[in-house]
């Protein structure tokens, strides 16, 4: 093994730090530490002359481990890592610490004590760096092709974006036609024009400029070279890993040849089978061979195999002028490889018949918003007329009921977010086409949050649409007068009303579509409690999942309006492109490693790993061992903390490194107060310490900070070892329990802290000496307060003496 030569680079931030810290003493202290080959001092080391000194030292092979004490660690570390890597030096041999925010600034009133703490911090960094090992750089394949699941507004947009960016895209839609819920909705707010407007594809350059919008039916979507559209198809199997998936799709037979059909409509004239048209709210009948509405994509008929008589009839085959009808088509499976998967499965309208008091099943004149949308659509079953389904006469009094099965803790507790706008849109479309129609909206709260949305509400009032603030208790039917009666209290006027209506339109909740759970299982991604897909982070990564390589967009994560769905689709396209564009995934082996001699036959780590990165594999006939996927492992260390036999280590945070660091931090006190070790996670915990320093919040210098990847890595014995190393109190500082960057780390750490407290009690050590704190970056005040509180608490408890400890 090569001799370890540590270079220590001390930045004084333009002599700002030397106002508090005695740099001469620090330099002297560092020089005498065994293994230190070089000590340098400059104003800064992350750029300019300082960086040059650092790079010269590693290039000249004077040092093979680097410790940098910087003033702006989070920013400077990025730059230092990049620069040393360029110079051919492994970045995992560098340790960067912060003498400003973690020492000089929070202890500026006690310079002598601060200097002693700085000595301990430097020593800890050196001892840790001595044990560093270089990490390998790994490469994994990333195929430049994407599977998009769902052919609604989101799926079509993301498919188009990615195809235009040069990726091979497979768009899989389970129904025979593209368009999804959007196409059924007919018209969209806030423009009141067709729902299926999407950006024009690049292939249609002759007629379309970049400023024009086009609809899917005229878009030439099928002409995009890289786009493979599979309708009437379902994803049945997904194997492989991010970057390289093998996908199996089952394509159901259409019974009509897509290349031959010319959509002459002769087949429907001879088809003898008539069934209620589900797509068009059952307000008309369709044939066994059909299309949803005249403008559909693909523009090809389909046979409904559940009702067609096939060879017992065969009339469509006879009449078809192009011989496009092929009754012997069979279901077939196609497989292809993709690098990434975009889920764009949208949402669906909830079945409102569960709300018994609204009698949706029973009264034909009680309909849903989507059914009304079909009526309003000119291509729809009534050609735009708003009628009463019971007698097909025009509806003159329309009452709309909001929040049906939504904002309802009996069914779906969430606000479906788009129904207020849908009802306002419908009310205005009815009112402008038939001004003598009386339209009333019963609402709990009108929610019009969005650009131009409040204007919709204003316009609706101006048009004479009535608003009743109240949720009806019952929809009744008066058979003699043949009308519906809506029983509702208007809270504003405090009146009980019985509204007479020809047509009642319910605004049902929007819920995840059928099959969502199965798809989530197939893709190994998670669902939220509401049943929609769970995004990686609602605030910053709304279109990614925890599994790199699987992306989400549109209503798959929650009901969305068209503008938001578009944004989402473009975002998912960019994220997928970013992930795959290099054709490979490059990452350092900053991962967990299993010691197979110890590991065996328990299932703790695969169950705990938040990234499904650990599998059990057969070791010999009777035994299993854990195996970590370097591709999926994020290096948090939750498995390390979970392993009952210490068989797992993180390559970038070995137990011996942590122990050396802990021992060094506790080896020098220099204050009159008891030493306290703060074990902080590298995410919120450590940055909260940064922010307390940045704001110059004061806490005593006896509090020493040790960074760990995630508090989830900590094991019970490590808390005990801290006391053994000389700590009189131990703080564990992690993210908020519901905001852990590795999801389960911080709540797991809390459990271990509680367990350790029980053990401490058994050992006769006051359990209050150990405490877990949860905070976010901006809560520096909370850290400073916690540090002061713990110091006071431990001072009161008195000196802890452990037998056998130094």
């Amino acid at each position: 093994m090569e001799k370890v030569e540590v270079g220590v680079f001390l930045s004084d931030c333009g002599n700002q730090l030397s106002k508090t810290l005695d740099f001469e003493a620090l330099l002297k202290h560092v020089k005498q530490v065994p293994g230190v080959a070089l000590v340098a001092r400059a104003s800064e080391f992350w750029r300019g002359e300082g960086l040059k000194t650092l790079l010269e030292a590693i290039q000249g092979k004077k040092v093979n481990r680097v410790v940098v004490a910087e003033g702006l660690p989070k920013l400077s570390e990025v730059n230092i890592v990049e620069e040393v890597e360029k110079a051919g030096f492994n970045p995992y041999l560098v340790e960067v610490i912060d003498l400003k925010d973690h020492c000089a600034w929070p202890h500026r009133n006690t310079p002598k004590e601060a200097t002693e703490k700085a000595k301990a911090m430097l020593l800890a960094a050196i001892e840790r760096a001595k044990l560093f090992e270089p990490l390998e750089k790994l490469e994994f394949p990333a195929l430049k092709s994407v599977l998009v699941i769902g052919g609604g507004i989101a799926g079509m947009q993301v498919a188009e974006d990615l195809a235009d960016l040069g990726f091979k895209v497979h768009l899989v839609e389970k129904t025979p036609f593209l368009g999804g819920l959007a196409a059924r909705a007919g018209r969209f707010f806030p423009t009141d024009d067709c729902a299926i407007c999407i950006q024009s594809p690049a292939s249609d350059v002759k007629t379309i400029t970049h400023t024009s919008r086009k609809c899917v039916y005229r878009s030439g979507l099928s002409e995009i070279p890289n786009l493979n559209i599979l309708t009437n198809a379902k994803v049945v199997k997904v194997e492989g890993v991010p970057g390289n998936y093998k996908v199996t799709v089952e394509k159901k037979p259409r019974y009509v040849n897509e290349q031959k059909c010319i959509r002459c409509d002769l087949c429907t004239t001879v088809c003898p089978v008539g069934v209620p048209d589900e797509y068009n709210a059952k307000l008309k009948k369709r044939k066994a061979i059909y299309i949803n509405v005249p403008p559909v994509h693909p523009p090809v008929y389909v046979i409904d195999e559940s009702v067609c008589k096939f060879h017992d009839c065969g009339k469509c085959v006879e009449i078809c002028p192009t011989k496009a009808v092929e009754l012997d088509q069979k279901s077939k499976q196609v497989t292809f490889n993709v690098g990434g998967i975009v889920v764009a499965t949208g949402f669906q309208e909830y079945d409102p018949s569960v709300v018994k008091e609204y009698h949706y099943d029973e009264y034909p004149d009680v309909i849903t918003n989507l059914e009304l949308a079909r009526m309003i659509d000119g291509f729809g079953p009534t050609n735009g007329m708003v009628i009463r389904p019971s007698n097909r006469k025009p509806a003159k009094r329309v009452v709309m009921v909001q929040c049906v099965g939504s904002r309802d803790r009996r069914w779906n507790p969430w606000c479906s977010s788009i129904c207020c706008m849908i009802s306002l849109k419908h009310a205005m479309l009815i009112k402008s086409a038939y001004p003598d129609t009386d339209v009333t909206i019963c609402y709990i709260d009108i929610r019009t949050t969005g650009r131009e949305h409040e204007y919709y509400y204003e316009k609706a009032r101006d048009m004479g649409i009535k608003f009743v603030k109240g949720r009806p208790t019952e929809i009744g039917h008066d058979p003699e007068a043949d009308l519906l009666i809506v029983d509702v209290e208007d809270a504003v006027s405090q009146r009980l009303l019985e509204l007479e209506a020809d047509l009642v339109v319910l605004a049902p909740a929007m819920v995840p579509p059928e099959g969502t759970k199965e798809l989530a299982e197939m893709l190994s991604i998670e669902l939220e409690e509401d049943g929609f897909f769970k995004e990686y982070n609602a605030k910053l990564r709304p279109t990614e999942t925890k599994l790199r390589g699987v992306f989400l967009c549109g209503g798959a994560t929650f009901p969305k309006d068209a503008p938001t769905t578009s944004l989402h689709a473009h975002s998912a396209a960019v994220k997928a492109a970013k992930f795959l564009s290099k054709g490979k995934i490059v990452k350092y082996q900053r991962t967990a490693v299993i010691n197979e001699d110890y590991c065996g036959d328990c299932e703790f780590c695969p169950v705990t790993c938040p990234y499904n990165a650990i599998n059990l594999v057969q070791k010999d006939e009777e035994h299993f061992v854990a195996q970590v996927s370097d591709l999926l492992c994020e290096g948090c260390g939750v498995c390390v903390g979970t392993c009952p036999v210490n068989a797992i280590e993180l390559r970038h945070s070995r137990p011996n490194q942590m122990a050396a660091q802990m021992k060094a931090l506790m080896s020098i006190n220099g204050t009159s107060k008891p030493l306290i070790l703060a074990m902080c996670c590298s995410e919120c915990g450590h940055t909260a310490v940064d922010s307390s320093g940045m704001a110059m919040m004061q806490y005593p210098a006896n509090v020493r900070v040790m960074k760990v990847p995630c508090t989830g890595i900590l094991q019970v014995h490590q808390f005990l070892e801290a006391f053994k190393a000389g700590a009189q109190g131990v703080m564990v500082v992690g993210c908020k329990s519901d905001g852990c960057h590795y999801e389960v780390g911080s709540p797991t750490a809390k459990k271990r802290v509680d367990l350790a407290k029980m053990l401490l009690k058994e050992y006769g050590i006051a359990p209050e000496r150990l405490e877990m704190f949860n905070m976010v970056f901006i809560e520096g005040d909370k850290f400073a307060e916690a540090a002061r509180m713990m110091t006071e608490r431990v001072e009161k408890l008195g000196l802890l003496r452990l037998t056998g400890a130094s």
Partner: protein, 171 residues
């Protein structure tokens, strides 16, 4: 709202109700009015509206709610509770309000009479000569006196009798 004039209590009224058995769900209410339109009492009198009772309780209008008639007008049909989309246990909230009112000595005379009937005769509705006469006509046996002793033990163990005495002292 005349908060200043009201008697000072340790807890805001809404919290006090929430801590009372039956009152736990009160803060879930978002005032949709489903209860009001479900209520058979509200249909015949403007004196009672369950939505309003909850609203005023949430506004901490302690005195108004406890000394008023409204909470005693609920007929406990549970229509509102069945249909409440927020699962507010409205009828139970009203029981909670009544229980607080009774502790304060606010109880309508008729309920007091019911309570006395229960303690003394084991019946809420006293036996009348009319009923006794009518029973044989329907082939019913004469009513035996109820087992008041066992009932009194229960009422005493639960503190019901003391509540009643307190009420009588107050009036």
């Amino acid at each position: 709202m005349a908060h200043g004039k009201e008697e000072k209590h340790a807890l805001p009224f809404s919290k006090e109700v929430k801590e009372q058995l039956g009152g736990e769900t009160i803060t879930l209410c978002y005032q949709c009015g489903t209860c009001a339109s479900s209520c058979p009492v509200a249909k015949i009198t403007p004196k009672f509206n369950p939505r309003e009772v909850i609203k005023l309780s949430l506004w901490d209008e302690r005195q108004g709610i406890l000394s008023g008639d409204a909470i005693w007008l609920c007929c406990s049909c549970y229509n509102c509770q069945e249909r409440c989309p927020q699962k507010v246990e409205i009828a139970d909230v009203i029981y909670a309000l009544r229980n607080i009112a009774i502790k304060e000595g606010n109880v309508p005379k008729i309920y007091s009479e019911f309570a006395n009937g229960l303690i003394n005769e084991g019946r809420i509705v006293p036996l009348s000569k009319f009923v006794e006469k009518k029973r044989p006509d329907y082939g019913l046996p004469p009513l035996e006196p109820a087992g008041v002793e066992a009932l009194r033990k229960i009422l005493s163990a639960t503190g019901f009798d003391k509540l009643q005495q307190k009420k009588e002292e107050a009036s």
